[in-house]
Point group: C2
């Protein structure tokens, strides 16, 4: 996530993306400029308590952040939009499962074995730990900077290879690279320990006796998988269906850095869309077939090219996106990101390369957003095949399947097995029971293999789950091909999983909406729908004659549920506007002396700072429509007379 | 929480509270009836996946429950109403802090020392554990039932005393009571271990090195206290102000029972209202002064009386409720509970007795709801004085204070201390530095005591924080009474804390809204605002000519954000109504053959099952108003023609 990786590319991308920004900000489009701009943003976020490192009075805690009042309101709004955009609009089911998760669930999911980062210690000062991949990355960047002209082309190529493949390396590879490059503990210069895996889940004991182990969930998805049966039944047995969950995920990061992007506790929103593996079409695909978006697919990445704009139909017909459902969710995600304030010029969908994907994954795309850190992954959209349900079936011994129903009976051929149990018993004695059970439960393909083997070679090898093998002979089993009429067929659904990092999305939205009038007057120009308060209500001076108007308007705002901030202090109005700007309040109503005579107020918009005069009777409706984004500021400017304050700002 | 404690009282209370229920349900008003009714409710909750024990495919996990689709929607709605009712309506600040909490925070709060239950083990089978108070309660109840006629009045009185005081007992008391009553391990008959304290917090390690210990928060409140400085600054330094937080709390219960009422992970909503200790009035108290509610105050409890209906003014003037702010929150809580479907007849506010309250607490009230478990605490509203801020000041060494600003300068007298440092240095040598620092930081009262002591006795004893004492003589320090003009005065705010158990409130709302048409047809008659889906849309039969109407109405419902369920299958309409009833959908639109001719649909209400005919053009608006509770069903019945289905239901 280092900004220094692709500086030129970053600046190249950032320029058009900032085209609507002020000229002052355009000067920022350089490596240093972007980092300095980020510092200004972080200063605003902290100063107005959007977000703050947790437990500050106790020195703060790395990787933990609290949302203050404006941040908390933005988070709630983003979550509401997510729920409207996905759960309500797509008729998804939604559940809320627990954070505490017994260990067996995360063993089944693979997290107990594989959810880890590689770590090394300082051999002398064991309390100094490093995340190995970060250490290697930093070493290479620093060497490149320090020894700029001295590095051979071979060395540079080797560095690039390591950086490119850093996520693939196993413990052994890391150990060799540390040796090869001669990396030491950066804080002390001491040697480093052998690298080892550190599991990123927080372990807990459930109950008092200590025999019940668990973890804080690393993702919300498992809560949906373990409820698959309940959900399928709730849905009347029908597939496809989708289930969503908003909640928290926990990762015990080794040494969190990257500000708000890498936290130990973070908001997530996940969807598990269960489909029939034989039919991954999507009923709403047709209305999105011409939807175009920037795809940074495998071929482009492997050939050093940029993302390309493509329609979903093109992507499907060229077999770039695996299936319609995956494509549909990619488009819907694109829309969602734009709705919450991320600029389309700064979004791309990057396909996972073959070596990045889990073996079971059919196809996987990350929504990435361009920020001062470079491209940041904010959503992952994967076709995970039947992996999760199959694993939970294995560990829970409960079938997690759906049924494909036929409108008329279907005739199928079933190869039935007949066992000569006395012969088997005589041959295997103690193992008799296990062998009979295994032979009775062979799946269709294995039955066919056994039939062929016995016919051709007069013997066939049975392998039990524990690995033991036994030679089966033709006198032990025979076969019978039967026709059967069935009305349904069971199958394990596949799952398409869009997984959203809510905190990351909010941070990216802030980076994209951060603006500066001057170094001292910064603000967030976020969409009204996610704004923490929709509107401020100020009086130009303190005057009791304004009270009835204040009360009337506040009552109206409350009735419509429009969150607002009232300030009737006599402070300079310009100072108060600056403050409401900092808190990201898009609209400001001001009651002035004309209000008393003409029953009109002024309405100001944060970004243009333009004001119009609006009758008191119309103001609440107007602000409601503006904050719901059913009216636009440009329309308001045309409809109402513009108001030029004498010397207010 | 045993139902058997106050059976007669329970039935007595439950009767009027059920007065509007059907006659079939009135038959349930007995101890057994209430328990059986609860089983029917739990059956519905499970069958329609409102809520389900977590990790069912792995055998389930005690104390953990997942909210399924309707439960999850109800939870989101209750939280939204809470936010509207408190945060928006009262202009509170809201934050979202982390669940992971460093140990020092929970040491400061007192949880590390005191947040525990007393536990005993079976001496032979150590894995069998009991929560001591539950074990004693069960033993007494069982003995009372089994030996009904044999118990002496003295014995019965002793039992009653133990039950009444069970929450006060310390480890030693519990040990003696177990001996006195001869209680054994109920599962084996073995002897019990010595009782000991078990801390109910889940411990975790933050980061990889193991030197950073933490806990999952047992309540959300601490996240607000540690942010006090940020919040005060955000609020422009003004007190009073309130900060709210919605989130999760964790308690590692010893052996959770009581269904949904005692969980290891639960939704909470807490408010910390910071006030000047010298002024606990509330600006909105005036509009609630005649608000009446049932107060079960100390005097009533101590004299075996019931709760009494009182206005806030009466409660304040009779010094029953400590202050206006506390009273105001009690009334607002009462309103909130009713808004989310709890019947007013089943609510009371119980004041904590002297022995229940923490030493620092000025006054504390629980909102209790009558259920089949008896009276259940769902909200605690406490005046916690300056306890929390003082403790965090002590542990963090950061002042957590606000300023009382004067409109004009105030003259005060300050006793200043002058130290003769050479004399002190000579007298105490090595301890010199610590003593000088202590003398320079004496508070006003200690300075006065020192002045008096030195004047009268020619010596005064200084006690350091570590307990060491030193004799101070008049040659070491002198005093000077100075007049000072100040514009402000620092103080540690007091805090009024209303703390809501969201899960418990939802469960109580379900108990109060559960209804039965017959044993097989049960449903939840919850307020439309918390209903999981506001409206169903059915077609009387499957017919493509209905499609345009379905699409038009669905579009309208979506536009207004009205959650809905569409069912155009040809199943019997009565069966479908029964299903929508079970999921708690208050209103049902049905498209029938008259829709084609007259462009009208029918609208059905869950509780009355009455239907009216409404023009298609008006239906979305009408359902919107009904689900927002701005229109009432009784009014709809008057306005629109009633529709009597021929044989639909």
């Amino acid at each position: 996530m280092s900004i220094f990786k692709h500086t030129t590319k970053l600046i190249h991308f950032y320029r058009p993306f900032l085209k609507s920004f002020s000229s002052m900000e355009k000067a920022h489009i350089s490596k240093e400029g972007l980092v300095s701009r980020r510092a200004d943003l972080e200063d605003l976020l902290k100063r107005r308590f959007y977000i703050m490192q947790s437990f500050g009075i106790y020195g703060g805690k790395a990787g933990l952040y609290d949302y203050g009042p404006p941040g908390c309101a933005i988070k709630a709004n983003v979550e509401k939009i997510w729920r409207d955009h996905f759960v309500i609009e797509e008729d998804m089911l939604e559940i809320s499962a627990t954070n505490i998760t017994p260990d067996i669930v995360l063993r089944a999911s693979g997290h107990e074995e594989k959810f880890s980062d590689i770590m090394v210690n300082d051999v002398e000062k064991k309390e100094i730990v490093y995340r190995a991949d970060h250490l290697i990355e930093e070493f290479i960047e620093e060497t490149k900077t320090k020894q700029k002209d001295k590095l051979t082309p071979e060395k540079l190529a080797r560095f690039d290879e390591i950086l490119r493949r850093i996520n693939e390396y196993k413990v052994n590879d890391i150990e060799e690279i540390i040796k090869e490059l001669g990396i030491k503990s950066t804080k002390t210069g001491n040697a480093l320990s052998k690298p080892y895996e550190f599991n990123l889940m927080f372990a807990i004991q459930i109950g008092p006796t200590g025999d019940s182990k668990g973890y804080l969930r690393p993702e919300t998805a498992q809560g949906i998988f373990v409820n698959f049966r309940n959900l399928l039944e709730y849905n009347g047995g029908r597939v496809p269906f989708a289930c969503a969950q908003l909640g928290i995920g926990f990762r015990n990061e080794i040494a969190p850095r990257g500000g708000l992007l890498r936290l130990r506790e973070f908001g997530m929103a996940e969807i598990e869309h269960f489909v029939d593996p034989e039919d991954k079409s999507h009923p709403k695909f047709a209305s999105y077939k011409d939807y175009a978006l920037p795809l940074y697919h495998r071929h482009q990445q492997e050939n050093g090219l940029d993302s390309v704009e493509m329609t979903l139909t093109q992507a499907i017909s060229q077999k770039i996106i695996n299936n319609e459902t995956l494509a549909y969710f990619i488009a819907r995600t694109h829309q969602f990101l734009i709705r919450v304030g991320i600029r389309p010029e700064g979004i791309r969908f990057r396909q996972h390369l073959g070596n990045e994907m889990a073996h079971y994954s059919q196809d996987c795309w990350d929504a990435e957003v361009l920020t001062s850190y470079g491209w940041v992954e904010v959503v992952g959209i994967a076709d995970r095949s039947a992996f999760d349900l199959t694993r939970h079936t294995k560990y829970s011994k409960k079938d997690l399947v759906a049924a494909r129903k036929f409108t008329q009976a279907k005739e199928i051929e079933v190869l039935e097995v007949k066992l000569a149990k006395p012969v088997i018993g005589k041959a295997f004695k103690a193992e008799n029971k296990a062998i009979v059970e295994a032979l009775e439960n062979l799946d269709e393909n294995t039955r066919k293999a056994a039939q062929e083997g016995l016919a051709q070679d007069k013997t066939w090898t049975l392998t039990l789950e524990d690995g033991r093998t036994f030679a089966i002979t033709p006198d032990m089993m025979s076969f019978d091909l039967k026709k059967k009429r069935i009305m349904e067929e069971k199958f394990t659904p596949h799952v398409i999983e869009p997984s959203f990092g809510i905190g990351r999305i909010i941070y990216c939205s802030w980076e994209h909406s951060f603006k500066m009038r001057s170094k001292e007057r910064t603000y967030l120009h976020i969409p009204p729908k996610i704004a923490p308060y929709k509107c401020s209500l100020l009086t130009v001076v303190t005057d009791p004659r304004f009270d009835p108007f204040v009360n009337k308007i506040v009552e109206g705002l409350k009735k419509y549920g429009i969150s607002n901030k009232v300030d009737t202090t006599g402070q300079g109005i310009g100072k108060r506007y600056a403050r409401t700007d900092e808190v990201g309040i898009p609209f400001g109503i001001t009651i002035d002396h004309d209000t008393l005579e003409k029953e009109t107020v002024t309405l100001r918009e944060i970004d243009t700072t333009l004001q119009v005069r609006v009758p008191v009777n119309e103001i609440v409706d107007l602000v409601y429509n503006l904050s719901e984004e059913t009216a636009k500021w440009e329309e308001v400017l045309k409809k109402y007379p513009q108001f030029t304050p004498s010397s207010q700002e």
